[in-house]
Amino acid sequence: MDKIIRVMKLVIILLTTAIIQVSAASYAQKVTMKQHGIELVNVFQEIRKQTGYDFLYGDKIMEQAKPVDLNLQDVGIEEALEICFKDQPLSYSIENKIVTVRLKKPGFLSRIAAAFGSIDASGRVVDSENRPLPGASVKVKKTGKGVSTDKDGRFFLRGVEEGAVLVVSFIGYLPKEVSASANMGNVVLEQSLSKLDEVQVIAYGTTTQRLSTGNVTTIKADVIEKQPVNNPLLALQGRVPGLFIEQATGFAGTGVKVRIQGQNSWNYGSDPLYVIDGVPFSSQLLPGGNSILGSSGASTDGMGDISTVGNPLSLINPADIESIDVLKDAAATAIYGSRAASGAILITTKKGKAGDTRINFNLQSGWAKVPHQLELMNNVQYLEMRREAMKNDGILMPVPGNFGDNDLNGNWNTSRNVDWQKELIGGTAGYQDLNASVSGGGNLTTFLIGAGYHRETTVFPGTFADQKGSLRFNVGNTTPNQRFNIQFSGSYLFDHNQMPNYDFTGNALTLAPIAPDLFDQGGGINWAPDTLGNSTFMANPIGYVKNKFLDKKTNLTANMVMSYKLLKDLEFKSNFGYTSLSSVYTNKSFLESNPPEYIQYSSRQTTFGNASSSSWVIEPQLIYHKKVSQGTLEILLGATLTQNQGKATQILGYGFSNDLVMDDLLSAPRVKPLSSISSKYRYNALFGRINYNWQDKYILDLTARRDGSSRFGPANQFHNFGAVGAAWVFSNEDFLLDHLNILSFGKLRGSYGTTGNDQIGDYQFLSLYKPMAQEILYQGIPIYLPIGLTNPNLQWEETRKLQVGLDLGFFKDKLLFNANYYRNHSSNQLSNYGLPIITGFGGITKNQAYKIRNSGWEFSLSGTNISSGRLKWSSNMNLTIPKSLLVDYPDLEKSSASFTAIVGRPLSAISVYHFLGVDPATGVYQFADKNGNPTSTPVLGIDNTKIIDTAPKYYGGFQNTLSFKNFQLDFLFSFVKQIARSYFPGVVSGQFYAGIGNLPVSLLNRWQKPGDVTSIQRFTNGDALSQSLYNVSRSDAFWTDASYIRLKNVSLSYTLPDHWSKKMHLESLSVFAQGQNLWTITGYDGLDPESHSIALPPLRVITIGAKINL
């Protein structure tokens, strides 16, 4: 059929030209022309003018013509043509004053047909390294008709006019316009350097910032690998608007609190959903483990959650990660339904790429230290404080004896002046990180094998180390017909964490500067016996160096993605994933860590613990992809089946006969089970998404999900979630395209939808009794205790998310601006409802009617400031201004939350006393009562009328990348405006217990005599002012400015020039220096404004290293 039409077309054209030829006037046969580099087409026109000869040619053919230099003076037409066609890939023939131009190729008829008819254009779309780009779009510009490339990058476009303009585009690449021809060979797309075209991984698919309807921020491997961190989450700090990350301590494996767009839930489940290569990953570790690591911000009073420490993401090697995508709004997260109320973080690991086999090494080594010391009292100041405290209390003589005032009663040498911060936390921790990988493959099969080793030690005295080794692989295969594709990845990480089970930081800050040496002359623990042989230095912490805590964790993840193209437009795909986290730990405490007096009450004990959780997931999906009208329609349907199982046990063995056998439970004469936990979580869902993109101008996104979770009672297991997202790329509108030169991109987008939360413990709807561990059974009877109050009516918590965003690109996308406003309403709150203990328990998990509103603004601005020649400078800035509000709480005054919750105030608001300094007459702290009058005895519930908000006011980051020749410098400042608990404003200043009692120098500014106006109350030795100290801890004086600007990360690298590395037979070699937490500007009075606790603060890490590609 096509052929007939084409032949007919040809006939018509031939006829027409014949008529033209007949009517052609008679002209002179000579040609005169003198011009340099003239297009052949123009030459033909001139010849026609001069001679009347007509030319018959196709536009497409003429594109292959070369310009010619002519110097003709009255030459014959044949000679002129001879000259013109010399060296051209064209030939010609003259017939009846018609010059027919054609390619110098045989097959006359078919060529004529190709030249004049519509053709079947075919070709292959590849990237600059000749790798095929499957799924690229090839469209006829004029008609909008188009196809996508197959797995091999090939396309076949029927019935296109020869030479018509085709637009070839692919996510992450610059679109290209080419003219259609039958065999177009390779169409090479250049990777887009515009941020707008970077691939973003979203739930069950990918998109770009240009086309997304949701609020997604992507961080790529190059950013992650610039940061010496032991948890990939820490690499996101300060870089993602709307994402607040707080590191709990400076230990390897520390707890990390993550909040996306604020806290939507009162006390359960504000963790985002983590998904690694499509497989959900735990947001919290199981209970157990080393408590010094600090919490990851799990629910504050959810059952069993309190004891979870550390962070599971520290069991992911950051070097394995290709990209991290942070999904924030409903459009991006609603398809995850009940688990994404607090956003989602998608981690995509590195995959093998076709091409030569590449071997990469990334080696670095460094040092870490506590970045900041507090200014504490020295021995003179300390003793002055102690003596004054005694005097204030009317105590004439320090208490004698080893339990007495050892610092003043002659037991200790008062001329000592020890800097305990230097002694206990002043060491230098080591940092090593080695990674190697091999990757490569052909067009059908790709592979990657990687291995990593990571080691960190501590700043404490003694040798402790956290060591991690990891292996990972990825294999991908596509069948030659491109219909079947399979990807299989697996990784295994082993963490050997041998840390003290004690944080020395508290001691470093509070030990008296005159306290004795930690070790005695024989190298044993110095208990500093007095003349009677009784220990005076009971608080000597160094015994904890002897205790051994060993936690061996493993993380195994495996996942497989299979896809099969059922039809041209229909694909079936399924994820299969399995993860297993396990931890086996022993915590040994030796006799010698106790003072001799207590040894008779102590015994050698070892806690043997193990915890494991495993989960599997299966997600079958059907994807339908079709051009409909001038747009692309994509429909996704899928289902999720998942199950999670957890088990943990702890057994105490004690009374060991000697230190050597303490690793073996069988050697323990006495054994006591401490705990056993078992839980199962089942979850399944159906989900779907419809995405329609009309000419890259109007994009509509509909998602829906029906979820079922085993965490709820039989009546409430299922719930529906859904979202609508839409985007309008107004810069693609014709009326703007022609008028705006500065604006290169503009998009307005919005989304609205619901997500849910089921992050409560398992089984909370069941009324359960648990056996209680006992050393000796009462009458030999195992006993059972009720776990808690049950609520069979538990339901989903629901968060409605509204989001509006504006994305603008200026100066050919060199400057990108992005603004978001979000407003999340969370209702049906799953939270712990405080109950009076007369009900048997302190609370119950229950859906409550109050509403929390999280709203805020997110801005980011990124630009390429200089991009000329050797110097490149780009920067990126982001700012988030969050606000959370308790908007509605029906019957609050009748609720047990009436003392903590305030409607119309931020969720994080607390009511405290207003601090009025020290009563000049008595030297005791005073506060404003409810009428504003000073009082030293404020009443809780009445006088705490000052409201303060403890949440961050705003936060963000400022990042710069400078490159000059082969040097590249990156640095990131992160900043937070917030308040936090002050360090010790009201500790009993002047007290001494067992060696503890030192304070910051600032407390010397105390009240000494009537009339003194100060903010520090008088020194005291006893408990007399303990109520006063308790009051101050509930006052606004306790909350201090903890805002900071931190030079979070610096990376300087130098890439060796190519010819040097070639000489060394290397593909490339770069050396680098990196630093983390280098410098902080803050007014905070404690060790660190980020961790704002007396735990070991985040360390300053400096590393050097090299990256080698073979």
Binding site: L566, I838, G842, G941, G1022, A1024
Partner: protein
């Protein structure tokens, strides 16, 4: 066609999934737990749930408030029996000692643990009443035990806190809004519960199946019996000043000489002695009793582990040649001072793998019943009967008898002697002194002198005879009011 087929298959899959969805998200309870439905439908687990009450009384140490068994130490500190070793730096102990409690520093007190146990008690009453799965004799015994225990907890709650909410169900919706109940009504409930318990409970000590009595030589007096209920009922009547019933109930036990009789001073706190009505079996390895661990001072004197010692006020109250002074108190010299300590329980903790269990912590003992009857008889005008009762105790302590020295003693003087006898007999035992001072309205008179001497010079205020309720509970229950005065 192909599309249609594929879609059909997929839709079928979805439907299958959806219909099986229910199944896929249903879970059984964890292997580590039992559901409340099952717990009272099985002899062993029902027994285990009830036994938890005794195990927990036995579990607690004396170093802070919590389980009622800690009253021996804490209420002794609040009264004029024990002194606190201040270098220990325990703010809670110090507050109980100095009568300086308030709603902030009281912490859990005895309130939290007692009401937690009352939940178990009420759940057991509900569970046992509807249970069909356990044997009738066990059901009867356990119901009796939990009714007894309910009275036991309320007895201490009203004596420590005054009016308290009377919680008789497990329904949190009701309980969370509970008001305080008048003390008198709580006492009514106690009497009713104890009378029921008397009917339900076995008169023999039962073994680990909760039903079968022990053979005579192997008797373990570690579960409440009918006699425990009777003893507590006698005490309850005494506190209610129902002298007739107090005499009646105490006489019931005192006439059961087959099972109960006084034993020599040295044997009063030994396990399963004939004076014991109810004792607690140790559940810690290496431990006999918490009293022995805490009160008996090592040669180095008081410390964190042994933070209290016996007040000289007690020491000074012993009459000359009182055997109880030599047998039931001890002393050490340390820090240049002499520290006396309660030495009723003598066995301290042991790290040895094998150690003898000689002593059980005694909750109820016959000597109290003797003195209850003495007091009731005095009040009823039966001075002679009262004297003969008091003399039983004095005789055992090696003291001159009233019968011989002062047979014509008046009622008031005899009451004073009985009260003093109680002070000496029951020092550092279950807060008897603290409760007796309140019961007899002598607390202000005594504490006005004692409190200022405990440091700080703070004066005694009458409301301090009751401990305060923690702030959290006051906030959580809008109908709950603080103990007046706090």
């Amino acid at each position: 066609m192909e599309i249609k087929n594929c879609l059909k298959v997929f839709l079928l899959l979805l439907i299958l999934l959806n219909t099986s969805c229910k199944k896929l998200v249903e879970i059984d309870g964890p292997e580590t737990s039992l559901s409340s439905k099952d717990i009272y439908n099985n002899n062993a687990t029902a027994l285990g749930a009830v036994t938890s009450l005794y195990a927990q009384l036995s579990l607690r140490q004396l170093g802070g408030p919590g389980e009622l068994s800690g009253l021996s130490c804490i209420a002794g500190l609040s009264a004029d029996e024990l002194e606190y070793f201040s270098s220990v730096g325990d703010i809670t102990l110090n507050a109980y000692y100095q009568n300086g409690l308030n709603s902030n520093n009281v912490g859990n007190g005895y309130w939290v643990n007692s009401y937690q146990r009352l939940f178990v008690v009420n759940a057991a009453i509900e569970g046992l009443s509807t249970s069909t799965g356990i044997s009738q004799p066990l059901k009867k015994q356990l119901l009796g035990e939990v009714k007894f225990m309910r009275a036991f907890y309320y007895f201490y709650l009203v004596n420590l806190y005054g009016d308290v909410p009377l919680v008789l169900t497990t329904d949190y919706a009701v309980n969370s809004l509970a008001k305080k109940t008048d003390k008198a009504l709580v006492y009514n409930q106690m009497v009713a519960d104890l009378k029921e318990a008397q009917n339900l409970l076995s008169s023999q000590y039962v073994g680990s199946d909760g039903v079968t009595p022990y053979s005579v030589d192997l008797e373990e007096r570690v579960r409440p019996t009918k006699w425990a209920a009777t003893a507590l009922l006698a005490r309850t009547y005494l506190y209610l000043k129902d002298w007739t019933n107090a005499e009646l109930e105490s006489t019931k036990i005192l006439s059961n000489t087959n099972q109960f009789h006084l034993v020599p001073i040295e044997q009063v706190f030994l396990k399963n002695n004939k004076e014991a009505i109810w004792q607690l079996q140790p559940v810690y390895r290496g431990t006999n009793t918490a009293e022995g661990n805490t009160f008996v001072l090592p040669s180095s004197g008081p410390s964190v582990i042994n933070p209290v010692y016996l007040s000289n006020r007690v020491m000074d109250d012993f009459e000359l040649n009182d055997k109880r002074k030599t047998k039931w108190t001890g002393h050490v010299n340390a820090n240049g001072l002499t520290y006396n300590f309660p030495y009723k329980y003598k066995v301290t903790s042991s790290r040895e793998a094998t150690y003898p269990i000689l002593e059980y912590s005694t909750v109820l003992r016959l000597a109290e019943q003797v003195l209850i009857r003495a007091e009731a008889r005095t009040q009823l005008g039966n001075i002679g009967g009262a004297i003969s009762d008091v003399d039983i105790i004095r005789e055992r302590a090696g003291l001159p008898l009233i019968e011989t020295n002062n047979p014509n003693i008046g009622k008031e003087n005899l009451l004073t002697i009985i009260l003093k006898e109680r002070r000496i007999e029951f020092f550092a035992e279950w807060g008897h002194r603290w409760l007796d001072l309140k019961r007899t309205n002598r607390i202000n008179e005594v504490m006005q002198v004692v409190t200022p001497q405990k440091g700080n010079g703070a004066s005694w205020k009458a409301f301090q005879q009751y401990y305060p309720i923690s702030l959290f509970d006051l906030h959580a229950d809008p109908n709950l009011v603080q103990v007046p005065g706090y």
